[in-house]
Symmetry: C2
Subunit: 336 residues, 2 copies
Amino acid sequence: MSATAPPTPPSLPGEPDRPSRSRPQEWRAPLSERLEGRPVGIVGLGLIGGSLGLDLQAAGLDVRALVHREATADRARQRQLASVVSTAASVLEDCALVVLALPLDRLLDPDPALLRALPPDAVLTDVGSVKQPVLDRWQGLLSQAGRGGQLGLFVASHPMAGTALAGVEAGVVGLFQGRPWVATPDGRTDPGALALVEALAKAVGARWLTCGAADHDRAVAWISHLPVLVGAALLRAADQGSGAAGLGDLARALASSGFADTTRVGGGNPELGTLMARCNREALLACLDGYQEAIGTLQELVQHERWQDLAGAMDDAQRLRPTFLMPPGDTAPPAP
Amino acid sequence: MSATAPPTPPSLPGEPDRPSRSRPQEWRAPLSERLEGRPVGIVGLGLIGGSLGLDLQAAGLDVRALVHREATADRARQRQLASVVSTAASVLEDCALVVLALPLDRLLDPDPALLRALPPDAVLTDVGSVKQPVLDRWQGLLSQAGRGGQLGLFVASHPMAGTALAGVEAGVVGLFQGRPWVATPDGRTDPGALALVEALAKAVGARWLTCGAADHDRAVAWISHLPVLVGAALLRAADQGSGAAGLGDLARALASSGFADTTRVGGGNPELGTLMARCNREALLACLDGYQEAIGTLQELVQHERWQDLAGAMDDAQRLRPTFLMPPGDTAPPAP
């Protein structure tokens, strides 16, 4: 197997990349071979960065992590989130691949010291939940940094995995297993860089796919960003409404797994929710319009006691849910 | 310990019943002692009835189940959901306690053969998700059936537990563990009957509480019935919106655990969702109004780019969620 791969053509929007049995074997070169003994760098050890560090070390890789604060570094070392953890950007020296596991705001306005410390030949990827602004920003940054020839080494990507937690305590083993990890290459993306990030995703058991950045942002608005606001609004309404009726304590005592699940992402990391909305505002506003129409339709059926139509709408919902949870592309086995 | 308990005063609305260390020991008499060797009957072996049958048998009790169809009875016997399963109502003979684990519509319009077969001295309880109509209906039925003196033996109750499944395959061990089980006694409820249902709930590890039926119905509208419509509307909007943009396949390929959780109850049993709305229409309409106001407020913050206010709203949501999931009453240990 060779560490250099032929170009990977991005799949068409709406057509997730699916590994084919007819592909030559070198497409499958695992991460460890592609890295040729060089370490993987991770910038930020929150939920995504920390989980990645745990899984990559478990796969036998050398992981170097850069964090902002000394207290975070201490705790990350205790939790063994990376082989080496430092607050000095020089920790990224020698890394062949650097994962920018930063919140969207710090990704869009990165520390100049970080930019200077990134190895010039390293493949860079991010894990942000909005892709077009990140892709635009980093291609601009790399161009300004005099890395014009290396623009293609930035691969915008997004592992679709989360829990209700954030910060250095949040990282867990196996977070990415079976979850989508999507990259949004464009005409400038280096095929070898893209293949390396694909190998990274597969090393942690994720399901790899690619699409255009704008399509990504509009699609995740529906299935990731809208659910955050839907759940947050439920918490807000249930608190205010039950409280106004003098039933706040009773509603809380009766709340069970259904309420817990429906509000999990809505009651999750508030910075993440706000940044998603800020960086994907237009797409999210379109989703909110569509959502209000949908809830208004259901409300009308209840209002007018159209029970057969409501039963039909609930049947539709039951039929639709599995189509979102078992996508046809869900056949790629992990290739660590 | 005595099998006869002193009256249990219903807790005030909004004040979940909490066991106190100073209570006399007979309050704690477990279900097996209270039954004095007589079996427990379960009518219907769907998610709730089947799970109850499994847990009660595991606790060493004799469980007799009545189901509607022979095919269901066959499968229930294979799954060992009860000690005896039959389509003949006479299976309930001798039962000291009968749990009506029926859908709301069949609970509100029960089979006359079932009514005739209920042992006259048995305590009856239901598991419906709306309580006032059930309480009214069954007190009326028992009165018509010439059981005027036995009206108090009906205890309206509601175990707050669910999964995405329904039917004879749905029952699982441990479904009620740590979940609320609420009863809605009124002035006519027999204290001994209430204590027997409390012992039933505790035998399967549920957290017992009581409140008024009308308060129950308004409270669960917020934390149980509204989430069903919120999730169903999300499925509807995500399907239609992503499809209209030509991004239906991509949205499906990217949907992950956040979308799955937010839509779990919305994409669940459609009959249950429709019946909840039908039987609790007024309360649910008030919730839908409140919810639309809440989502509208968030939409306005995004629209007008009021990011600090949005961050505040998301902070509120994160702070509110645990107040619903860790109610102060969550301290009752299971007492099988």
